[in-house]
């Protein structure tokens, strides 16, 4: 019963989506290793007390005192049970006590999910909650206690820019949806290629919202060593439907405005060209109370996190408010997702300096021609065995003492073919749910995780609900292909932000539908009805000021492909507006697809590479000189024609001599004399 309550409270507080709460449910059944019984007693009671403090908020101080007593009692019990652990427990309880007072919390989790072709996805989740503050009380809002968990820098940024929610994504690589299936967590935490930032800002009008957004982007730019300061008005849009509609459903947009005259504005910007690397990871780890030294974050090493086919860093800050008690708190979720190709990782471990395999190590297909010079390689092996430290190059260092819930590691794979064990000092343990709680008792011990499978093709991945491909054609067309392979229709929302130097012609927008089901749709009327192209929002770009912003809703019928295309014109830029690598082309933001029904799912399209023709960069002076020469030539000729006198050629010299200034001077002199 108590465990059930934890789930509910976790759901309310952190607005976790279904998948994460499912994981929590798993963990309640999980037989955690080590001090399993003790820890599992601790958590629910502490959590229960937190719940109480939520409900009885009028007398704030008293319940906390009661908690303290309870905790002390708990720790006494622990002392009786395990005397050797006494000192450690004391320390932990002291931390927890502090957190109780400030109602802060910290939780971390790692989900491992084997994917097709010997890939594995590692998904780290770090969740932090700040202490509560009263949003109506200005003084309390301004003054917030020093947090031990919630990073002070983040709090500062939120308050300076009056932003209520802030979502930052760094992503690189291609998620192979056909093989790897659906994105983790419904794709909510997965951004488009490059860097992406969206935030809801409280402001009096659009302009001041943009001003605060600019401050926000600049601060984050410094904080995360990213070029977010380049998010100027040409990269920023105010989404009309995307993010808002679903975030309302997710309660992310629920926070009230602190000033009655203000309104919440949602701004979104992305930098598709942004490289993502260790300098972006380090600041993220610095935000954690563990600073990447202990717990799950201790295995994160920049060399490994970014040396893989796909990785995504997500940071989500939300303000969660309770309308009844008028209390608010901040939540900070950091999601790190990455996909490793295990054979590549193992090969890198075996041969740090890349060199070809020796003949005897080659895996050859002997059914095909084979000799000393020929070898047809076999596909990757179906069975695989490795430990987690092979993948990350490090071992997990203990567990964060600061957290009331133990860190958790889970493997999401069918139990029949996948084995997942914890190895502590050469002894191996397993659980039914494939989930382990990290105990800080093992901090000094050598612990590692062992993953083994005999049939790696059998995996627990869900099919991606939609496939989206966006491309540019030679005749200046943008083509977006939505493919629905489900047997139910999908209602989607599509947001495209196209830079101003692509002049869109919305009048050329065409919708095509190809239906793979037997009942194919032929006539135009039914196409209109099936596709249900509605809620079109279009704000055309202003040169050098804003980008084209196009949003629309669309229904994609079951088992069919919808193609939307429109044409555009390329504009030329001014000489100094081209980047140094102008001939590389310009990356166009990935478009954002939100599935509204029957499920919630978020996916970004690929980015586009637009080649703009360039002027000759070495020519500015030549052009100025040549054009001016031509103009002077024309002007000079015409001007001479228009102002000069016509005289017969044979008298020209005489007239010229007579009328020259010197001649005039001479006559003048003569007259004078």
């Amino acid at each position: 019963m108590t465990r059930f309550e934890i789930l509910v409270s976790a759901n309310d507080e952190n607005s976790l989506d279904d998948e994460v709460s499912l994981l929590l449910e798993d963990s309640t059944n999980a037989g955690s290793f080590g001090e399993e019984t003790h820890v599992s007693i601790d958590i629910p009671q502490n959590q229960d007390l937190t719940d109480e403090s939520h409900s009885s908020i009028e007398i704030e101080d008293e319940p906390i005192e009661i908690h303290d007593d309870n905790i002390v009692q708990e720790s006494h019990e622990a002392k009786e049970d395990e005397e050797a652990k006494h000192a450690r427990e004391e320390r932990k309880q002291a931390q927890l006590k502090l957190m109780e007072q400030e109602s802060q919390s910290y939780h971390e989790e790692l989900q491992l999910q084997p994917l097709m072709n010997n890939h594995i996805r590692a998904g780290f989740v770090f969740q932090m909650t700040s202490n509560e503050f009263n949003f109506n009380d200005k003084s309390e809002f301004e003054y917030i206690h020093h947090g031990s968990i919630f990073p002070k820098s983040m709090r500062h940024i939120l308050q300076e820019t009056k932003s209520h929610a802030l979502h930052l994504r760094f992503q690189r690589g291609k998620w192979d949806a056909e093989k790897w299936g659906a994105l983790p967590d419904n794709g909510y935490y997965i951004g488009g290629s490059g860097a992406e930032l969206w935030s809801s800002v409280e402001a009096s009008d659009k302009n001041s919202a943009y001003g605060q957004w600019k401050i926000l982007a600049n601060s984050l730019s410094g904080m995360f060593c990213a070029s977010l300061d380049a998010l100027d008005s040409t990269h920023t849009i105010f989404p009309k439907y995307s993010f808002i509609e679903n975030d309302f459903a997710n309660n992310n947009f629920r926070s009230p405005v602190f000033n009655e005259q203000h309104d919440l504005f949602l701004l979104h910007g992305s930098l598709p060209n942004e490289p993502v690397c260790t300098e972006n990871l380090t600041p993220l780890l610095k935000l954690l109370p563990t600073r990447g030294k202990v717990g799950l974050s201790s295995i994160l090493d920049g060399h490994r996190v970014f040396d893989n086919p796909w990785h995504n860093l997500a940071l989500d800050l939300n303000t969660i408010c309770d309308d009844i008690t008028k209390k608010c708190k901040y939540t900070l979720d950091i999601h790190l997702d990455m996909v490793f190709h295990i054979p590549t990782v193992q090969a890198r471990n075996d041969r740090p300096i890349p060199k070809p395999l020796t003949g005897e190590n080659l895996r050859c297909d002997y059914s095909k021609p084979y000799d000393a010079f020929q070898c047809f390689p076999l596909p990757d092996e179906n069975s695989i065995t490795y430990v987690l430290s092979d993948v990350f190059g490090k071992k997990i260092n203990g567990s964060p003492l600061i957290s009331s819930i133990p860190s958790k590691i889970c493997l999401k794979a069918p139990k029949e073919t996948w084995n997942f064990f914890i190895v502590v000092n050469d002894s191996v343990y397993g659980t039914d749910s494939n989930c382990f709680d990290l105990s800080d008792d093992n901090a000094d011990k050598d612990q590692d995780f062992y993953i083994q499978s005999d049939n790696t093709d059998l995996i627990a991945t869900e099919k991606s609900p939609i496939s989206i491909t966006r491309s540019l054609s030679d005749d200046n067309n943008v083509r977006t292909v939505f493919k629905n392979t489900n047997d139910y229709p999908l209602e989607i929302l599509h947001l495209e932000s196209v830079p101003w130097f692509m002049k869109l012609y919305l009048s050329t927008l065409t919708i095509q539908i190809s239906n793979s089901s037997p009942k194919s749709l032929r006539n135009e009327d039914s196409l209109e009805r099936t596709v249900n192209f509605t809620s079109i929002y279009y704000s055309p770009a202003i040169d050098r000021k804003t980008s084209n912003h196009l949003e629309y809703k669309l229904t994609i019928p079951q088992m069919s492909t919808v193609i939307i295309s429109y044409s555009f014109d390329k504009s030329l830029l001014q000489f100094a507006e081209y980047p140094p690598d102008a001939n590389h082309g310009f990356e166009i933001d990935s478009s954002i697809v939100t599935i509204l029904s029957p499920m919630n799912y978020y996916v970004r399209s690929n980015t586009l590479l637009l080649l703009l023709s360039t002027p000759d960069f070495s020519m500015p002076y030549n052009v100025i000189i040549l054009t001016s020469t031509v103009m002077c030539l024309i002007f000079g000729t015409l001007y001479n024609f228009l102002v000069k006198r016509m005289v017969p050629l044979k008298y020209a010299d005489i007239y010229n001599k007579r009328d020259s200034p010197i001649a005039k001077l001479k006559t003048c002199m003569r007259k004078f004399i």
């Binding site: 009048s507 030329l572 001014q574 000489f575 100025i624 040549l626 030539l633 024309i634």
Partner: protein, 432 residues
């Protein structure tokens, strides 16, 4: 006579409609080519404007539509019917030809045009440049139509209509506003007077009148100035009125001024075209751009003013044609549609052909430029084997060739003026 004019016009209409039917994709191809289409005249952006208008989306907020609101309102009547639109453009082109014939009829006695007057319409209608302009559905054609009407009405002393049409032309392309001055000079002084482009009727009439009464002279001149001034005031008033109407059509929003007139004057769209501006301002350093834009605009104004004033009394009609040519040469977004109208006006120079120094060189230079420019554009943009300098170089050649044509005619006008009506092609004349 009437029958042959009709036949010429019908032939022109048939040719245009047939070309559209035989090559249905030619319109899109031409609309993409930089020679016939610029961001401010292209049919694609006009259609986009109509689409935005019909769907209640903001038309002028973005950077795509630069057409006048009235043009959008008129063309939205056709409701996207391709045939009606091409018929409309064809009729407009034939009206230009008809106006040219009418203007030539007016000058029939003074210009010794050996061929029948409908030949000028034929020359215009069968000029490949005007044919392609008509098919590309460039909005330049409206500008040309309104200017031709304005000339026609000005010659016929219909001040009101002439001023309305010059205002309409300015509404399409703001630089036509400069033509108010040269057009005001072609307004005849007297209803009964015949008009010769080569030598001023005012001189002959005045000499006639001198014999009758010297006292009336001052009176005449003041009357003449009065009608010019009236025309200029009418033109400016109707231009203001048209802006007011556009304002009402555009849901009482002024943003069209920025998107149409200011865009043209400031040339802030960097788009390759035949003009002298675009590459200059791509390569220009930021801080100098406003200065040079002012200089380039002054460059246009300066010669229009000086030519009109210089030939004010002797050859005002020719100075008007030269002004049209000059604007074509120097405006920020010229197309071959502008030059095709100028070429259509060249037969009026018939009496001066004998004075031309290098007609072969200038026409060949012009042909060379317009043939090479699509090729150089193609190797820059599509193939990538040449860079922008190729296209820029051909721009310069084109500018020089048009300038050569203008200076040739300017010289011819000066020579004609010097000869005082009795051509003496052999006389050697110099300027000091």
């Amino acid at each position: 006579m009437k029958g042959s004019v009709g036949a010429v016009l019908l032939a022109g209409i048939a040719l245009r409609l047939a070309t559209t039917l035989v090559f249905p994709t030619l319109q899109q191809t031409l609309d993409k080519s930089v020679e016939f289409s610029t961001p401010i005249t292209s049919f694609k952006s006009l259609r986009e404007g109509i689409y935005l208008l019909n769907n209640d989306l903001p038309v002028y907020d973005g950077g795509v539509v630069h057409h006048s609101p009235m043009l959008l309102a008129i063309l939205s009547i056709f409701n996207g019917s391709e045939f009606l639109v091409s018929l409309f453009y064809t009729i407009i082109d034939s009206l230009i030809a008809l106006n040219l014939i009418h203007i030539l009829n007016y000058f029939q006695n003074s210009i010794n045009f050996n061929n029948p007057t409908w030949a000028i319409g034929l020359l215009y209608l069968f000029n490949p440049l005007s044919l392609l302009t008509c098919i590309s559905r460039s909005s330049t054609i409206f500008n040309n139509l309104f200017i031709s009407y304005s000339i026609y009405f000005a010659l016929n002393n219909n001040l009101l209509l002439a001023s309305i049409f010059i205002a309409l032309a300015s509404n399409i392309s703001i630089y036509s506003l400069l033509l108010i001055l040269p057009v005001s000079f072609i307004i005849p002084k007297n209803y009964s007077s015949t008009y010769s482009p080569t030598h001023s009727h005012s001189a002959s009439i005045d000499s006639n009148k001198k014999k009758i009464s010297n006292n009336n002279n001052a009176n005449k001149i003041s009357k003449l100035n009065c009608s010019r001034l009236r025309f200029a005031i009418f033109a400016l008033l109707s231009f203001t009125l048209l802006i007011a109407i556009s304002f009402i059509i555009n849901n009482s929003n002024w943003n069209f001024i920025y998107a149409t007139f200011w865009m043209d004057l400031s040339s802030s769209k960097n788009f390759p075209n035949l003009g002298l501006w675009w590459y200059f301002f791509i390569e220009m350093f930021d801080s100098f751009i406003p200065f040079y834009k002012t200089v380039f605009n002054l460059f246009i104004v300066s010669i229009v003013l000086t030519i009109s004033i210089r030939f004010n009394s002797s050859q005002p009609f020719y100075s008007l044609i030269l002004s049209i040519g000059w604007i074509t040469l120097t405006k920020p977004y010229p197309t071959l549609g502008d030059i095709s109208f100028f070429i259509g006006l060249i037969p009026f120079f018939k009496p001066l052909f004998g004075y031309l120094k290098y007609p072969v060189i200038s026409s060949l230079l012009f042909l060379h430029a317009i043939l090479l420019s699509p090729i150089f554009y193609h190797i820059w943009i599509d193939v990538g084997s040449g860079n922008s300098n190729f296209f820029y170089a051909i721009n310069l050649v084109y500018a020089l060739s048009v300038a050569l044509i203008i200076t040739e005619f300017c010289w011819a006008m000066l020579r004609c003026e010097y000869d005082k009506g009795s051509p003496n092609y052999k006389a050697k004349v110099a300027q000091i």
